[in-house]
Subunit: 352 residues, 2 copies
């Protein structure tokens, strides 16, 4: 070991889902939207003045902040934007979770939470979900340094109703509570309506799923202005110009074209419900997904085997080799055509 | 104070240079390139398939990493890319500077260094530059937790010759030494040639200045593969997908169009040398800039007054109200036309 290596931060990096580069695959492994971004984004892209790229982008990202504030009926000082919700939540961990007490998040949830906690040396505890993968609110009544959970949860797709979400917030008014709503647009009810009542609540959402812009890296947080200011202060201590010029311009169009947004979501929800029926017929069971993915297990064939065999057919889904969920597959809801091909491939695998 | 506020990280955020939104101004305050990005970028932008934005970008940013590796004659595992050099250096602070000993950087240098150190609770000391704003190498011989300095320095524009840079690295082989070369393309010699000799050396550069792409947020680091791996591990613990799809595509063109790159730099260097003459005629003195900005002081008129009066004329330069440099202006080198207007405005101010 070189002498300088002793000062290097030790981390176990998050391993993202595969981004295979081959053509002609069916990609149902990273919960992307199967539909392209709004055509309005294509229009502004064509009109975009490339010469302006010589200049720094607006450090306050006001164009995007303002359109989000308008859309959700908030003031601009209640909205923060970042480079995907991963960037937003990482900044939030650094900003809000500076207690000696452990932060709390479910044993099964977004795998980045423990990675961020390790990165920033934040202690944490992980209360267990119940046997049906539901959050047990009373597990979050104990003293802690902060709370975060996804709603709907990932990778389980289970939605926590707003009365339970509020119960958790109510019992934790001395710390910041983050509700990570990456998948809320696919059938859940956002905790956004609670931010006026609870000044310690931060709601985080993303353009990567329901708004079809994973490639543009846009996430955002909403909360009371003291929370948002604290987050901006840390962001301005890290990198003033995180949002690049094209993200700001395309992102605005994604918010403005609400009709297109809702049409895509409707299609995905319909496809999801049909897929649930087909999967049931094939002997799968799953949680009641309110997300754009289905978390499924088969009565006789092992998830890991199905995962491998699907890959042989150039169909990518996600498999987590982790306690309690190692016999489940997380299947992104694609187009009707993609899901049809998936079901055919699954039929061959399970009836083999 | 709300109870949850006690856990909030205390920071003094960096204040970036103004990004005025009015039209018709002359903007010489944030060291941007006065020339637009390569026309090749406009071409790929027109051909860009917007539908692909529904997908996450390549987390490894290989297209950009590979083209940079080719350009500089390195292997791909010796190159790291991030969201501007601010993002790269912030990650580097978090990755490499985990010692109890203070890191060292000059008293006058990029103002973000102390902000990042505060953000990550890294102790630091700031050896003084000499009276001509030169780095004194022997100040960096003492025990420390790491070293960073810009070359050319900002905001002084002073270039440190490679023998002095090497002397500092040679005396600090037990820690990571970062040479921040945001402005190196405008006349300095990069420390890149030393990375094979010193495995603790990280060289950081950016697309925001010489490559005319401040709006796209691209920075990069080069070093031995163990250093780069450590940086990638931390990046993957923070946000897997930092580089958005458009940045990757436009960035590749900026590197490939070397002729355009060199033509723009030549123009800026010529304009800078002419501006130096004009400024001398007006009674200014300045350091021997090897950057795309001039750090100037006037024999009789105060820098702050000049700064304010230029602003009244819609000409923006940068003024730092800081010890030792509070009678200097940092003036970005714009086009010949912009510099002509600046000189005229300055003439009126100093001859008033």
């Amino acid at each position: 070991m070189n002498a300088w290596e002793k000062n290097i931060r030790k981390v176990v990096p998050y391993v993202p889902g595969e981004q295979p580069k081959e053509d002609g695959i069916i990609k149902l492994n990273t919960n992307e939207n199967p539909y392209p971004p709004t055509p309005k984004a294509t229009q502004v892209a064509a009109e975009f003045d490339m010469d302006t790229l010589k200049l720094y982008p607006d450090p306050d990202a006001f164009a995007l902040v303002n359109v989000l504030a308008d859309y959700y009926g908030l003031n601009s000082d209640q909205v923060y934007v970042g480079v995907g919700s991963d960037d937003v939540i990482a900044m939030a961990f650094m900003t809000y979770f500076n207690s000696d007490k452990p932060i709390l998040f479910p044993d099964i949830s977004y795998s980045f939470y423990s990675v961020w906690a390790d990165l920033y040396k934040i202690p944490y505890e992980r209360p267990s979900l119940d046997d049906n993968f539901n959050i047990i609110a009373s597990d979050y009544y104990k003293e802690n340094g902060g709370v975060i959970f996804p709603n709907p949860n990932a990778p389980t797709a289970v939605y926590t109703t707003l009365d339970i979400v509020e119960d958790i917030i109510k019992h934790n008014q001395d710390v910041v509570v983050i509700v990570d709503e990456a998948y809320i647009d696919f059938g859940g009810k956002s905790a956004l309506e609670l931010i006026e009542k609870y000044d310690n609540l931060l709601v985080v959402q993303t353009f990567s799923k329901s708004r079809s812009m994973a490639g543009m890296r846009i996430g955002y947080a909403m909360g009371n202005k003291a929370l948002i200011k604290a987050l901006n202060d840390v962001k301005f201590s890290f990198n003033s110009y995180t949002m690049n010029a094209t993200s700001l311009v395309y992102g605005v169009e994604a918010v403005k074209d609400d009709e297109y947004f809702k049409t895509c979501i409707d299609k995905i929800v319909k496809t999801r419900e049909v897929a649930k029926k087909r999967l049931t017929e094939l002997g799968f069971t799953f949680t009641d997904s309110k997300a754009n993915f289905i978390f499924a297990t088969h009565k006789s064939v092992k998830a890991k085997d199905i995962f491998e065999k699907l890959k042989d057919e150039h169909i990518y889904v996600r498999y987590f080799n982790l306690p309690r969920i190692d016999n489940y597959l997380r299947i992104t809801v694609g187009t009707d055509e993609e899901m049809g091909k998936l079901v055919e491939a699954l039929r061959e695998i399970v009836e083999e």
